[in-house]
Symmetry: C2
Subunit: 315 residues, 2 copies
């Protein structure tokens, strides 16, 4: 394939670590002497099987866009239990089937749900709640484990991970929250904080809009297939809404992975545990790139540049 032989960035390590790509499983295992001098690709190749986990099938959405393009979203019930539950109620009722991606605003979000306007009849929410209490942040006390990331962040006292999710916290306030990084999925709302039901969801597709942190409920993360949202044609209406109904991307179906035979596509994948030694090593390797292309390692990585390695389960 032309071009592949001349990577203008030495980004090979990125390929298997990037959201939505699963090339890691094919890499040969390597013997590593010192983990902190290895590249991301070498670290992943040398990882232990136990450092990987299957996706949380009971909390993973399998969204099929037209053309049967697969987008998998892991929900975050530890941080947004009410939103996660309401979204699952909607999904189980088939709420999203036949709806569409209605808004793609460049360098911001792709958003999906019912395209009906203010004055048109909306699809009924059935057993799901029309309003959900805000889950913009929560107390650190009693909350899930927080895996800290070293280094400065302008938006929060500390950044890190809660399970698969980028997060931040401020110990002096006793508060923690999920962070608006690329691929994160949130619950659209109007001005009223409780107005987001989960019937309209968005995914971040641009430079991470961290100013949204603590202002809206993040309910999960695209762990597979973000490119099917980020690569959509941008809407030319206000806020990136499509001006023509024909420009919208149809949603064929959304299902809970656990409701599909063997979990569907989600059942074939695994993610690197963020509390694993390899994940820690990957962060260090990406703070200081060591392949031949880089002349000056950054000595830093910002929260939203840390990618979640996801791969096909080894057979």
């Amino acid at each position: 394939v032309s071009g592949v032989a001349r990577p203008l960035f030495a980004a090979a390590a990125l390929v298997c670590a990037a959201l939505g790509l699963g090339a890691c499983a094919n890499r040969p295992a390597a013997t590593l002497e010192v983990a902190t001098k290895a590249t991301t690709a070498e670290l992943l190749a040398a990882s232990a099987p136990a450092e990987w986990r299957g996706l949380d099938l009971a909390n993973t959405l399998d969204m099929r866009l037209s053309g049967d393009r697969v987008v998998l979203i892991e929900l975050a019930p530890a941080m947004a239990p009410l939103a996660s539950a309401n979204i699952k109620t909607l999904v189980r009722a088939g709420y999203f089937d036949g709806l569409s991606v209605n808004r793609v605003q460049d360098n911001f979000v792709a958003q999906w749900g019912d395209p009906a306007g203010e004055t048109e009849p909306k699809r009924p929410l059935g057993a799901a709640a029309a309003t959900v209490a805000p889950e913009f942040e929560r107390s650190i006390a009693g909350g899930p484990a927080f895996i800290p990331l070293p280094g400065h962040d302008g938006y929060a006292a500390e950044t890190g991970f809660v399970g698969a999710f980028p997060a931040a916290r401020n110990p002096s306030e006793g508060r923690m929250w999920l962070a608006h990084c690329y691929g994160m999925v949130g619950v659209g709302r109007d001005n009223a904080p409780e107005s987001g039901s989960g019937a309209e969801l968005y995914a971040v597709i641009g430079h991470s809009p961290r100013q949204l942190d603590r202002n809206i409920t993040l309910a999960g993360r695209v762990v597979w297939g973000i490119e099917h949202l980020s690569g959509l044609q941008r809407g030319t209406g206000a806020l990136g809404f499509y001006e023509q109904a024909s420009q919208r991307t149809p949603i064929l179906s959304v299902r809970i992975a656990a409701d599909l035979p063997a979990g569907g596509v989600a059942g074939t994948l695994e993610a690197l545990s963020t509390d694993s030694a390899t994940f820690k090593g990957v962060i260090e390797a990406r703070r200081n790139r060591r392949d031949a292309w880089y002349l000056r390692p950054a000595g830093h990585i910002d929260l939203c540049s840390v990618l979640l390695p996801v791969r096909k389960k080894p057979s």
Copy 2:
């Protein structure tokens, strides 16, 4: 238009400030009592005509993709004089005409140039140099003015702007450089630092990959039409290269705007000067969003979240 009536984010202020959208000129002027309490939209509407500048037509590339989609790139000769000059030599010789966008890697870059592989004959560079000395950074002494941005940054001691471009510097080292923010355009290179001629260019289309800073020459910024690059289908080959030639997006032509009658599309636009009071006010307004949707202003903005307001010249 359905959906527009219910913005799930109060992002109206973003619309006219976003790269590639030029809705600002239509906003009515407002009387502002205190600039620091206004929203971005209000500040832009109240800006003085003299705070806007025409694009630098002698250093702006007018790239036409198939369908006559317009992408405008302002070059940065103050920071990358050699690369800018070599790119202009290539452009004036028609080098890019009939070439293509060959790589679109999700959450990273779109890259264009000659799609021929390692073993295939490449289009000759003509009078342009095949190698160009690295312009990854430069001395602060004798360099262009630096307009600082308040707040922490993990990658650099200070961040700010050099003309239209996001930049960073480290006074203790006496060095400054352009920063890899969304929409910035760089000069692809192989491992050798001087191997980037400008014949292969890339634009950032994802979360800003600041680890590239000081490792590769940034030569400019997409100031109009980034969505025609960021919205392209992602390549499925290694590093996001397309696997089929038919998937590439043809480049109809690249011209210097100053060589087009009245500067072409670039001649119809103006950008907010980054040394203007309104730009300073916009940064403050975006550090602390004040519209009704936001409950908790961030008190911070990271360098790559600061957008360059570009609009149609008022008639």
